[in-house]
């Protein structure tokens, strides 16, 4: 069953078509990878889905209903949560309060503070940051920052999570742990749409991979098919 899909999604920045009419679709319970060279338009697609940007044309639907042009807070409340490529943390606030903002405001129903606190703790435990609850977010290292980003998104109890390069800047051990974490997220029944530069990670995990190049969809298919795709190999060798 389709949970999130885009049709002819386009975003122009001045003369540049950062996203040039892309179709995509995430089915319930899938992990879909979004890959492509730097500047291909991957983050822009996430910005369009999450409402940070309005598409120049095209439609984005969530559970069959159009969410095109909705504001970020509305899209979050509907059940689409995201992380940011460069962590956008509330630097001076504690780790737990960072998550609390998401669990308190991110759901469609009003959540009592006590419940939201419990959910924030659960989300932190889930990503393995329980011990850092009372630290200010700015004191976290890169790996922990990425985990905090994920915990915040999870605290909204989303149906779909958009992960923007959560493995960038991590060492190999941390990458392995991040892969494990994403599998656990998927185990919770959350559909995952992930941008990743670390090819190995996407290839090992995704049900399907979409390759973006200069704002256009270059290829789409199973990881095996993508790995063998001549156009994709050329783009990546040429990088």
């Amino acid at each position: 069953m389709r949970i999130l899909d885009g049709e002819g999604v386009r975003k122009n920045f001045g003369g540049l078509a950062a996203v040039a009419g892309v179709d995509f679709c995430i089915n319930q319970g899938e992990i879909v990878g979004l890959i492509g060279p730097n500047g291909a338009g991957k983050t822009t697609i996430f910005n369009l889905i999450s409402g940070a940007l309005n598409p120049s044309s095209g439609q984005i639907r969530f559970n069959g209903e159009s969410i095109t042009g909705l504001k970020p807070y509305q899209i979050c409340k509907r059940g689409v949560a995201r992380t940011f490529q460069s962590a956008k943390l509330f630097a001076d606030m504690t780790v737990i309060n960072n998550v609390l903002v998401w669990s308190l405001f991110g759901k469609s129903a009003r959540t009592p503070v006590a419940d939201a606190e419990m959910e924030a703790r659960e989300a932190l435990a889930f990503v393995g940051l329980s011990e850092k609850e009372e630290l200010p977010a700015k004191d976290l290292g890169i790996a922990a920052q990425k985990r905090l980003e994920i915990a915040r998104a999870l605290a909204t109890k989303p149906q779909v999570i958009l992960l923007d390069e959560v493995m960038a800047g991590l060492n190999p051990t941390e990458v392995t742990q991040a892969i494990e974490l994403i599998k656990q997220i998927w185990n919770k029944g959350i559909s995952v749409f992930m941008i990743e530069h670390v090819m190995k990670a996407v290839m090992g995990m995704a049900d399907r991979v979409i390759v973006l190049h200069h704002g256009e969809k270059l290829a789409e298919g199973t990881p095996e098919a993508i790995a063998k795709n001549r156009k994709v190999v050329e783009v990546y060798l040429g990088e």
């Binding site: 979050c76 943390l89 606030m93 759901k107």
Partner: protein, 317 residues
Amino acid sequence: MHSFRVTSNKKALFLALLIVILIFAATMPLYIQPYIIISLTSIFMYIVLTVSWAIFSAPTRYISLASASFFGTGIYVWAILGSALPLPIVVGIGGLVSSLLALLTGLLTLRLRGLYFIIFTFGFSEFVRHSSQWWEINISGTEGRWVVGVDHTIIYYAMLILAFLTLITAYAIRRSRFGLALQSIGQFEEAAAHAGINVTAMKIMTFAISAFFMGAAGAIMATRWSYIDPSIAFSPLISFMPVLMAIFGGIGQLYGHILGAGVLTILAEVLLTEFPYYYMLLFGLILLAVILFLPHGLVGLMEKWWKGGLAGKHANT
């Protein structure tokens, strides 16, 4: 317990202190000189202005320089309605009209950030001053207005009650989910928006709440002048004072705002009477020194002493 709720220790201390001060303040006019009553009214007024300014600007980090336009609007509401209606009603109307003005400004300005927001709010405030000047001269055919005066003790009590209401509101907002949302906007607005917070509505609403108290304060203070004109009512000084007072006292804490307003009002009065010619110069130098050497204001200094004292005791035992 998280830091968005004040820790219970501090809370108890704060409440106890507030109650003592209130009882003290409420009985004050019984045994004190009238001129001190007038000074105290000024302190309360600046507490209202600083605390209400900080309701919006401290957590969100949108530094507003529009306070004078809200305060002045309150003054004019009194000038127009003061002789017709009872004081509490005029004060309430002053607050509401200022709130409406803030809603309008909010819709216009809150897309701007940082320096642009600061400059626009200041420009807006000046625009209000100049347009009311134009209006008074060309439409009403007056430059200024005579204002109905009220007894000093009544002004004192009105301002005391308003200060109390402002503090309760500020305190309640800080402690609530609403306060947490405002804080997250100040920390990283884009992230706050993606956390499910309607940042635009939140900012405009808070701006209007903050303007309500400024307008109400203006309506009360108007009674102290017998004559007003737009350059008195919309004096830009009123836009700058709350910012300076909050920074002076310590912008992160509610009692910092109170402290800053109190100390600076007294300081300004003392300087004005002792050094009438160098008043502004000295005032500016003291402010500069505080901003340079006490980045967390008076509150930062006090907390340092407090902690230093505790550490000293531990070292001795």
